[in-house]
Symmetry: C2
Subunit: 307 residues, 2 copies
């Protein structure tokens, strides 16, 4: 069994070529840069990866290419939750077969207002059909985007049914009281709670959580990793504040994913990175100027990102 992932995980942004096809070589390079600069793991194919703009086949091919490129499966927690049960099963089985440390699973997100019983059946079918004791399933709670919440009641039921498999949650509700409630309710049962944004990292660690899985780690892994490494130290608050400052700049742009890619494009001096797949749209020239200027003003850098 692989070790449980903890610390700072990046939902790795997926680079595209001009024709919107995934760019495996840039993807591998960015993953390695992230692991070398503070990330303990990679939640590839998350929301910020534009994973839901990729077909199941595209995701599986890219995951194969990551491993072939030398990214260790033991540091991967790919997103495998789809709208269709059969896709979720296929992606999850593939990830487990490759030896990934875990999978991060969205609930089926097209139908809204579905009962917890239906969500339980969905996750339960995935666990049973994959049928592999190595599966470590992390639930992905992101109601602002999925519009389908993962309630405390659902977690309790899944943990009761699959205590060895259900390993934790990423809470991207943006609501600290919910993260706190998840830790309080399940943290002592070996259920690992990750904050969905680095702004909650210090609070998460102090409350008994295990880290964060956050878009900001694509750009500022080193800054966020310092908060994680030194969360018990007297400098923790200052490190959190420094990390928050970068997050604030990224988040205040017109759209988060294009902003992350624009920042990488700038510091890597590689304009190809700006491309996003529809329905997203890349930042305009003046939006990029504003972003770069704000990051520059904050003294921010991405050391080693330039080839």
């Amino acid at each position: 069994m692989t070790q449980r992932l903890r610390g700072v995980l990046a939902p790795v942004v997926t680079p595209f070529k001009k024709d919107y096809s995934p760019d495996a070589s840039r993807f591998v390079r960015h993953c390695k840069w992230l692991l070398a600069h503070g990330c303990s793991g990679l939640a590839a194919f998350g929301t910020n990866s534009e994973a839901n703009s990729l077909s199941a086949d595209e995701r599986m091919v890219l995951l194969d290419q990551l491993l072939e490129g030398g990214v260790p499966a033991a540091q991967l927690m790919p997103g495998t939750g789809c709208s269709a049960l059969t896709d979720s099963v296929r992606l999850t089985a593939h990830a487990v077969k490759l030896g990934c440390a875990g999978v991060l699973m969205l609930p089926p997100f097209y139908y809204k207002g579905v009962p917890d019983e239906g969500l339980f059946r969905n996750f339960s079918e995935v666990v049973q059909r994959v049928g592999d004791g190595r599966l470590r399933l992390y639930l992905y709670h992101i109601p602002p985007v999925s519009q389908v919440p993962i309630t405390l009641g659902l977690i309790a039921r899944l943990l009761g049914a699959y205590p060895q498999t259900v390993a934790g949650v990423k809470d991207s509700s943006g609501d600290w009281s919910n993260t706190q409630a998840m830790i309080d309710a399940f943290g002592k049962q070996g259920f690992d709670v990750f904050a969905g944004s680095e702004v909650f990292l210090l609070r998460t660690m102090r409350a008994g959580g295990v880290g964060c899985i956050t878009a900001g780690a694509n750009v500022n892994p080193h800054g966020i990793a310092k908060v994680y490494a030194d969360w018990r130290s007297p400098e923790a608050e200052a490190l959190q504040a420094a990390s928050d400052k970068v997050r604030q700049i990224l988040q205040s742009q017109v759209s988060m994913i294009p902003a992350l890619k624009a920042a990488i494009a700038h510091y890597a001096d590689d304009r190809e990175w700006q491309t996003v797949r529809p329905p997203l749209v890349e930042l305009a020239l003046e939006q990029r100027a504003k972003l770069v200027s704000e990051l520059f003003g904050a003294g921010f850098d991405m050391p080693g990102i330039k080839r």
Copy 2:
């Protein structure tokens, strides 16, 4: 070129076996019953078809099976809009190749708050990549579920770019003023506006629309077809009221899709029809009793549905 579809279209409910795999033979049978009892077309793989709980491959196999089973491609408008651009392209190309009269296309629905420019690029990429003059694209506006609207501005831009391809819309906003605005703005340019519910059918026809694509047609195609056939007659209001009564009963149940399937299961005397794929949940015994009792009380029947 096939003739434009008009009238009453059903987003055909997809039957599943106990193991949640699609049941092609019941599917073909139900499609044929619908066409024999008032439907002029079939919007297979719509919201009420649980299409977004099916993988792209499952949808393509089922479409093949419909045609092999004798359902005419000229009466089919399959749903082909997915969260991933590449899936939408694949499903659309497949439907066009088979000679389907049109496709009903959801916008990519995972990412919320995306700009119209991004949605335009998505649909535009689909049209260009499919690259087939036979494609007739119907936009699917269902903000209560997709949470991603298709605005009048987006329609204008798509119609301007692809006047031969962009053929119409299904408006499932539930907001009559929006349907009216779509008809007023584009109805005279050969853009066919379908109401998303039979409750708007008479108003839609009077305003210059072309019919409805509605969940209720799975159960009450004959009643809704009467409204369509006689919308200019003095009986139109009474026919609309009779159709509304059935819709009201279906819609007042705990959940629409399980209610449609429970009604079919009852009248076809075929309990297999009750199965829904997770995250949906079938009606409980007492919920079925309530539904059947209300339909019975209204004197409703599904003639010829029993084998």
